[in-house]
Symmetry: C2
Subunit: 369 residues, 2 copies
């Protein structure tokens, strides 16, 4: 039972769940987090497989045990609410500010020492352990709210938790890349409505990051400049796709957006990952995050389903060329109409946009906040 002071007066308290999983409470002031998980130890699932898709060179994680995971439970049974009379939830305490805990149905887990990693020499052994870590981050103990509606102080605690987990997971030898994200809305497959995100720590570099690494490396070789710096400079020059800005951050619809409403939020002074953000940058994030998500929900006056993804440089590669940014993609193209990833997108990776980025940027800017 340890407490660790972080920046901005935030304190982390580390605890364990009855089945051995870790849980970390993040609080804006010293709080004693001594509640004990009263549930029986049901054990943890074994490790899954990573299989190499030889056609594309991509790893696919196989997590067969996840098929039975909890699916849209009623509020009274929400496993992300604090524990209360009649409900022993994932969080033993009766209240919390922000918590991060190990996912009960992880796609990726600590490698098993009893399974020697096979060599991946081509078609004969395109298989290894699905090593990594999957964590859940609860943004608040209030079941009914959403990230956008949190106070600036509360978003600052979430940011501190992301930074802290990025630092900690970066120190794990089998972790290659850390990916904090939020899926919001049943349209993108959310199975729990409580405001929460996830952190995937992969033991491999993901396909999109490999591509970004290749592009950024080529750009550096050709121009001796950082790709994202040049992209942001172009957005600033073009102006027409910018939707929000403050002293440390900028938000824009990218020139080649793939989704009807896609927003990138990046620090004006680039860093490789969340751990490298200065405290001043971290402190300036809540206001732009809240503004951007408020604009997004304001476009059609409804809670927009979105995927909000932190792109970070991998832990041990590309840190000199890849830069942190937060990508928010909404699949809603109009009230009652979703953007589906059909043939061209799903099978070919060739995106077709039904609206111009300049048009969605204008709609986002017009929202009164």
């Amino acid at each position: 039972m340890t407490s660790t002071p972080l920046s901005s007066g935030i304190i982390r308290s580390d605890r364990q769940m009855s089945d051995g999983r870790g849980i970390r409470y993040y609080d804006s002031a010293e709080v004693i987090r001594s509640a004990i998980d009263q549930r029986p130890d049901e054990g943890q699932p074994g490790i899954g497989e990573l299989r190499l898709d030889l056609l594309t060179g991509d790893w696919v994680a196989m997590a067969a045990h996840r098929q039975t995971r909890v699916f849209l439970p009623p509020k009274e049974l929400c496993p992300l609410c604090p524990t209360k009379p009649g409900l022993l939830s994932e969080i033993a305490d009766t209240s919390y500010q922000v918590v991060v805990f190990d996912n009960k149905s992880p796609s990726l887990t600590a490698p098993s020492t009893s399974w020697a990693l096979p060599l991946n020499d081509g078609i004969d052994t395109p298989l290894t352990q699905a090593a990594g870590k999957c964590e859940v981050i609860c943004f608040t103990d209030d079941h009914e709210t959403s990230f956008r509606a949190l106070s600036l102080d509360q978003i600052r605690i979430v940011m501190e938790a992301w930074r802290d987990r990025t630092r900690a997971l970066s120190a794990v030898d089998y972790i290659a890349q850390i990916f904090p994200f939020e899926n919001r809305g049943e349209e993108v497959g959310v199975t729990l409505n409580h405001p929460h995100g996830q952190i995937y720590a992969y033991s491999y570099i993901t396909p999109r990051t490999l591509k970004m690494l290749e592009s950024a490396t080529l750009h550096k070789a050709k121009h001796n400049r950082i790709l994202l710096d040049d992209i942001i400079a172009r957005e600033v020059k073009d102006e027409v796709r910018i939707i929000a800005k403050n002293e440390h951050w900028i938000a824009y619809v990218p020139f080649a957006a793939r989704y009807p409403f896609e927003i990138h939020v990046a620090p004006l002074s680039g860093v490789a990952d969340l751990a490298e953000l200065s405290d001043a940058q971290a402190d300036a994030f809540p206001s732009i995050a809240k503004e951007v998500l408020t604009r997004l929900d304001g476009v059609f006056g409804i809670d927009m389903a979105y995927i909000a993804a932190w792109h970070q440089a991998p832990v041990r590669e590309g840190r000199d060329v890849l830069r942190l940014h937060w990508q928010i993609c909404s699949i809603r193209r109009a009230p009652g109409k979703l953007k589906y990833l059909a043939g061209s997108e799903s099978a070919m990776g060739a995106f077709i946009m039904d609206m111009k980025p300049e048009q969605s940027a204008a709609q986002l800017r017009e929202v009164k906040i």
Copy 2:
């Protein structure tokens, strides 16, 4: 008004719609297709943009005019049914077997000569014309059926239309890659219920094909063998993921499937594209196609939403290493549950499978047909 004999006694009749778009009738015997499109010429949309996503190096097509396209019209107004009293549809004749016509709301169109193609030299001009062709293929004039329920003879006509269009589009100088596909089911965004597919002819090589090209080229360099040949040899050896076979084709759930129900169908004797199939291979396709889709619908006893995609070698590249295969992906993982492409898949391209390919292959094999 020309008629062209194709293989298997199939005849193609070429006609024009009132707005200048082409329509081709494919019939199993000589039929006079002289019906004239009676609709006024409403003109055709201008060409869209291709924008380069510098972060990933992918082209994104911007087709802003498609936002207003027809969305799930009632059967009486179906634009893919033959013309009948009270309905002037896309097909002027009052019946047809198979037709292929130019899409009214194309994402990609013939390049405009008045717009000089800018050079793509890095960040300054990551923009060009959205050149290409988009076509619609109607599998039958019966609104109420589906591809799976077609007769073997009817599927053979569809196959001939695919081959014929692949040959014709391969001869167009600005076309780099030809992609026939079917989206089936409102869950994957189908906006017209009439049984139909599409053909996208891209002026660029799509992101997934570029990756497949890279993998296949490396494999050839390393082993001096064709990658898909080796993959199929492994599936045959493992046996456990095979779900159907005939003299010329094999169908299997791939070792590293990305979707709960993903099936690949490939000729046993590999070819680069549909145009290279022998008549004997083309003749043997309908029976395995019908079996595979019948097994897919049989798993849960419901019409499964799927994307069925023909992967072909590009027109002028990789024809010595890439091999034709038909990839069917269903996003349904259980009755009432869909597989969503959420954070890991959408933002990172890192797929997480909830069930093992061997398990879905067993379920598909167990279906009584």
